[in-house]
């Protein structure tokens, strides 16, 4: 079963929306910081969620962009869908 890890998410965030200079995306507690603290707004997340959906062939709910406040919440949502579709 495919699994979506924090490193995968950070790679896609960097590719889809770049990286805020003042933020350390490789930091230990990055999972539980808010996307806002990480420098990502809703458009950045839209782009990233689109990429995730395409790469994994899944469909996430439309409100995931506003509902998932942290990387951990987005990872959980993605992995839940992956589990359901496998």
């Amino acid at each position: 079963m495919p699994h979506f890890a924090i490193d995968d998410l950070i790679t896609l965030l960097r590719e889809c929306a770049g990286e805020d200079e003042s933020v350390d995306l490789d930091g230990a507690n990055v999972r539980d910081l808010s996307f806002e603290e990480l420098g990502y707004d809703s458009l950045a997340l839209h782009n990233t969620v689109n990429r995730i959906e395409r790469e994994f062939g899944i469909r996430l709910p439309d409100d995931v962009v506003t509902e998932a406040k942290t990387p951990r919440e987005l990872l959980d949502e993605v992995n839940l869908r992956l589990k359901q579709t496998s």
């Binding site: 929306a17 770049g18 990286e19 200079e21 458009l43 950045a44 839209h46 782009n47 395409r54």
Partner: protein
Amino acid sequence: MSAPVVTGLGVVAPNGLGVEAYWAATLRGESGIARITRFDPSGYRAELAGQIDIDPGAHLPSRLLPQTDLMTRLALIAADEALADAGASPRDLPDFAAGVVTAASGGGFDFGQRELEALWSKGSTYVSAYQSFAWFYPVNTGQISIRHGMRGPSAALVSEQAGGLDAVAKARRNLRSGTALTLAGGVDGSLCPWSWLCLTRSGRVTESADPRRGYVPFDVDASGMVPGEGGALLVLEDPGAAVERGVTDIYGSVTGYAATFDPRPGSGGEPGLRRAIELALADAGLEPGGIDVVFADAGGVPELDRQEADALVAVFGPRGVRVTAPKSMTGRLLGGGGSLDLATALLSLRDQIIPPTVHLDRPAFAAELDLVAGSPVRTSLTHALVVARGHAGFNSAMVLRGDKELES
């Protein structure tokens, strides 16, 4: 009402990135016009342009790259330079004290083309969410405002090549209404197949393949214009607010402006250009003799050159004022062209030297226009007039005075 002062400049041009690099190249007569290399222009009716190539990552944070067209990247680079030049940090000013006014011709064409290609070749899920604003004509105003925390009165103007003056005039109105500082001007151009098709279908773009003779305004061989990328941004400040900020050195003041519209095509009426110049002079409280140099619009299309020569002769008399068209080295920068001419005029006033019009081998209006051609002319300069005409009837004229020090 004291005239707004220009305290900072930022320039991106095909013949130089940054104010001083551009100015040095311009005085040397170096052209940035060449065959397009960004895409293969063969198969289109025209192939010359003033293209700007930059390494965007060297100038801007990565967070901005996926959401910006080249037009916006160039504008952000010019904004950084202009604000640094003025020693201004808008975030340190009161919350709504600083605004942004930019001109554009269309928007981020290259970005838009890429996303349309993604839509039609792969499907809607492949379209970037940033398409929602990255192609949009006011995007430069928005991105600059966000990057520098400039939340005061802001706007975007679309009046083709006249926009570069109209944006600065709008900034002047904002300062009169109490805004302390406004970053104003235009940075335009995103050469790509889509924009190239739009531009070349205007019928005003030269089909010449010779970079030296493609865009030769006021020349017997004038065959159209060459479009270019880039422009300039100016920091305009209320003089009182500038004094309060500790500013001492300035480039000059905006002392006059007017805009007019051409009569309906085919009506036989006189173009609005002469009226725009006369009204701008009146606004500045100057007689024609008070102008030391004119930065011409220089359409490069024989009929447009004729109209401009007629208007200048009507106001100044035959060979009544020195005229130059340094845009012969950059091409016409659409929304950015007028602003680059303003910046060039202010540098001209600063250094008391008129930059040349290049490649004017066979003057078509030798009896009418005293063109500075080939090499720069050193002379005493106090006032410059910048003229800009936009496709579809826009005429604008702006008077600048070269003050070096701010009177407190």
